[in-house]
């Protein structure tokens, strides 16, 4: 090694290849056609290979004024859902020469604080999921292009939004249970201030209001087995006719509802039907397997990244909700007389 300890720079490569630094930049930047002879280009590439040259990203980013890196802000990674979102986003990003940096919001779903202190990388844009207004304004303060996932399209202050068609998912679940004959429902709602959960509550309530002879109880719990268990147990033992179906805001809550039902001696689905939302792997680990709504997390991430790329290009991002699919399994059946 000529330089010894420090990392080789493009100048070192230039010296080794007997050309100027500018030539190295042209060749390695793949903009050399018609500017450098093929033989010289090959010599440069060989020298770079030989020295183990890797461009200094900090210098490149400074020179270009962009990083080709975007931030994906997600709630705490306690389920595989956001892993799928990342996978989809990263795939699309890679096709366009972008990288994706993950920032799991420390406080779970809800307000996120200072994603930039934590991810020191300079960023070209942000994809943010289920975040509250304060984090949104913190990000907007930086003038960064922003795409919001599963957020109120009318309340995002002009930021592009990409949403799953949760409304349709709730409709499908509700219709499925109504068709089976259920009339008395319990909604086990996630106790988290986020638009995506408000949509669930709103759609379910209005759907049942339209259907005569139905009743709806609502209970709230943070997304954890224990909290879901106690909330469900309390709600099911409240005086009055017991609900025959529990509609849960997500699969994890549904797992808690399973335990509550078992503790009360209720059989699933004979005595009580339970539905989830997400279609996590967990849904098939439960016994009986959970009827739920499949969300295409990867496609969600893909659309989010595509929308951000559109914003970065000055184009108008496509605006269409991502379809979801009801998956009927063993946890739902007609109510027994």
């Amino acid at each position: 090694m000529a330089r010894g300890s420090t990392r080789p720079t493009s100048r070192d490569v230039a010296e080794a290849a007997g050309v100027s630094q500018a030539a190295v930049s042209l060749v390695l930047g793949d903009k050399w056609r018609g500017r450098v002879s093929p033989a010289t280009a090959e010599r440069v590439r060989h020298a770079a290979q030989e020295l183990g040259y890797r461009p200094n990203l900090a210098a490149r980013n400074l020179r270009l004024g962009r990083t080709r890196t975007v931030l994906l802000v997600v709630p705490a990674l306690t389920t595989e859902f956001f892993a799928g979102v990342y996978t989809g986003a990263a795939r699309v990003a890679a096709q366009h020469g972008f990288g994706v940096v993950l920032y799991p919001s420390p406080e779970g779903i809800g307000p996120a604080r200072d994603p930039f202190g934590s991810a020191q990388a300079a960023l070209d844009g942000v994809i943010a999921s289920s975040m509250a207004a304060d984090a949104l304004t913190a990000i907007r303060g930086d003038q960064l292009p922003l795409v919001m996932l599963d957020s109120d399209p009318t309340g995002s202050q002009g930021a592009a939004t990409v949403n799953l068609d949760i409304t349709d998912g709730v409709r499908q679940v509700t219709d499925h249970l109504l068709r089976l004959g259920h009339r008395r429902f319990l909604h086990l709602a996630a106790d988290i201030p986020s638009w995506t959960f408000e949509v669930r509550a709103h759609e379910l309530a209005s759907r049942l209001r339209e259907t005569p002879g139905t009743s709806l109880r609502v209970t709230r719990a943070p997304i954890s087995f224990e909290d879901a268990l106690t909330a469900t147990q309390t709600a099911l033992t409240t005086p009055g006719p017991r609900p025959t179906a529990v509609i849960c805001d997500d699969d994890k809550l549904a797992a808690g509802a399973y335990k509550a039902a078992r503790r009360l001696g209720l059989r699933i689905p004979d005595d009580i039907s339970i539905t989830g939302l997400d279609d996590l792997a967990l849904a098939r680990a439960l016994d009986p397997e959970l009827t739920t709504v499949r969300l295409d997390a990867e496609r969600f991430g893909e659309q989010g990244m595509k929308a951000l790329l559109a914003v970065l290009d000055g184009r108008t991002p496509p605006k269409e909700d991502i379809p979801v699919e009801l998956v009927v399994r063993g946890s739902t059946a007609p109510p027994n007389a």
Copy 2:
């Protein structure tokens, strides 16, 4: 994007405050004591606030030759385990002014490819989990300080390693089942080439070899419910005396084993005991709750980051395995006659 007004630089702040750019750098870098008057410092801070100044990370990184950012390479984020590792690592990092960037290896546990193309951020170091040799050498080729998680301490080519005391965990599980009276075991092993799983197989086998009158069957499956189910079903219906206990390499596999047992009409734990390893939330969602080994993911991440900080400081990283804890729940009981 119409980036009409460019972001303010330290020079803009200097102009607004009526000082030189150097003074701004001193004040905002908190190195102004004895170099700038308190009144001027306040004026600079106010101007920065007013303009919404944020330092250009690319420029700072170039100037300083370091980024205070490290990469955490994890397998696909399909369980909350590595979320905990990240949380622990990020907490320690933040205390030292570092940020952590997450890189979920696209191919799951096993060889990872080119973490640097994806995370364009320039990096000061890497914490890598359960990776194969080729990715390791790719990283080492960049001469980056490296800490390996749960990897062979003797085979990491001098990289620091931080490990969970998996050997002790397996020993505790085995002893627990032996004490209950079990003698015929099935090991449901993860079909993934990783040191952490080799350790499990080795310790279990040698432990039982030491104990007369015991027998061990081994079956392998990728970490998914379906694969675990079919593998377990096959193994339990093989001719010969049926095992009375299934020791699984992790909780997810255990969930598959539950389904296999149920499909064969076996009751848990009366007809067959099952154990896991991880203590995921899933363990308490299963019915009956799973006896498993609790791994302290956050502490794991903390130790990993501490080790990396030690390497970056030129110190020798502490070398101690992180203790694990057997959690006995309802899935294990004495074998019935």
